[in-house]
Amino acid sequence: MHVWKKSNRDSYKGEWTMETKKRGDLIINGLGSSNGGQFNEVTLNGKGTVNSDVECTNFDCNGLGTVNGNLAATTANISGNGKINGSIEGQSLSIDGTAKVKNNVIVKNLEVSGKTSVGGKIKSEDIKIKGRITVGEDCEAETFKAESHFTIGGLLNADLIDITIFSDCKAKEIGGQTILIKQKATLFGLFLPFIQTQLETELIEGDRIEIENTKADIVRGNNVTIGPNCTIGIVEYSGELSLDEKAVVKEIRKV
């Protein structure tokens, strides 16, 4: 019997210790399915289906993998097409292909280079996204770096938010300490994109805000820099404000 001890709050912050006794591996090559359980390594190559909760040290999905339950893995790697009909918890999760998670993702490090959709919330410390991500609820991290196309249904909350817009982005609200939003640099600065891509949100709140190509109802902050192609309803600032001449701001309030 193996007992995983997790800390009571966020599992990724707790030490993952295992009571010693050797665990087996679960490897599916080709077409196969298995029940879940506790393993050392879980590798799905080909079309593999796991039909209940899985706990493992390494999770690797290289083909079309499905887990019909929750996945708890110290490190998880989805390079093919992975579908988790539950939540993912663990230390690090990297997604290079397509991943679909029905509920929450709670991991220390999250790296996405493909396409990911998460039905619930994301709670992490370090999020790096190059690709496309859809989150149903809130997205929380210490640092959030994205060069991507994303949709966040709830609040994007991080100490450092660094976004390079590649295509239309949406978040209900954005809050944090430093918020940087910039447009992807065009080739040699010569070819301006024909269609302007924008980040759309209701509210941005932070201490230091520098934004470009953003459409927001309200922006509140200390030091605010509004760059080109912004459409803002109300800007409230307490420190300094700099406005680009190509930005549209309806109302400015100094608090």
């Binding site: 991290a141 100490d159 809050g175 944090g176 932070g206 509140r220």
Partner: protein, 207 residues
């Protein structure tokens, strides 16, 4: 709710904190989610907080954060269950146990009215099984004895309780770290309940 509310902007001003700090504390669960009250105002949606509670909380965070990390602080604000002590009437008020089951428990256990976590678990399991009608009072007594005698085992390991009947005689089993079990065909499984799941359920009531 008749509490006085304060808008986010006023709060930051009054407490002298920044947006960054507020969002960081929210992320670390230092401020409960349901204190964020959304209301529409003439400027669009704004977030409000219960003023008194929020100012007290911020004060606490600010005085303690010099000595403790934010994670340690978060553990502090989430009710510390191992040191939990509750009065019997508090349990009734929180819907963990009904008055009649509580009386039955005290009558048999003859303990004080102050409940620690393992006693809360005992009374909670009893409540669950008695109220669902799965067991009768005598079986309840038996179950209680098993749980009290094996308190220490229950605390540390994954435990399940199983109650069976055969030819009208009931048995209560406490299974520790079991993968599975089987009976002969004449035995009827009355109920099985995972104590860990119960523990989780109790914890969730306090959050």
């Amino acid at each position: 709710m008749n509490e006085e509310l304060i808008s986010k902007k006023e709060l930051l001003d009054l407490a002298g904190i920044s947006y960054g700090q507020l969002y960081r504390w929210k992320r670390k669960d230092l401020i409960p989610e349901d204190w964020f009250i959304r209301k529409s105002t003439f400027t669009g949606q704004e977030t409000f907080f219960p003023k008194q509670k929020m100012l007290e909380r911020i004060d606490k965070i600010q005085t303690m954060k010099e000595n403790l990390s934010l994670d340690e602080l978060a553990d502090m604000f989430s009710p510390h269950l191992s040191d939990l002590q509750l009065k019997g009437e508090e349990l009734v008020r929180r819907n963990i146990v009904s008055k009649s089951v509580l009386d039955f428990y005290l009558e048999n256990e003859k303990g004080s009215l102050d409940f620690n976590l393992s006693r809360i678990l005992e009374v909670f399991v009893l409540e669950k099984l008695l109220q669902s009608g799965a067991i009768n009072l005598d079986e309840g007594k038996m179950l209680l004895m098993v749980m009290i005698e094996n308190k220490d085992q229950i605390k540390q390991k994954s435990a399940d309780l199983v109650i069976t009947r055969k030819l009208g005689v009931s048995n209560c089993l406490l299974l520790i770290n079991t993968e599975g079990y089987h009976f002969d065909s004449g035995t009827k499984l009355v109920t099985e309940i995972s104590l860990n799941a119960c523990m989780e359920e109790i914890k969730s009531r306090f959050v």
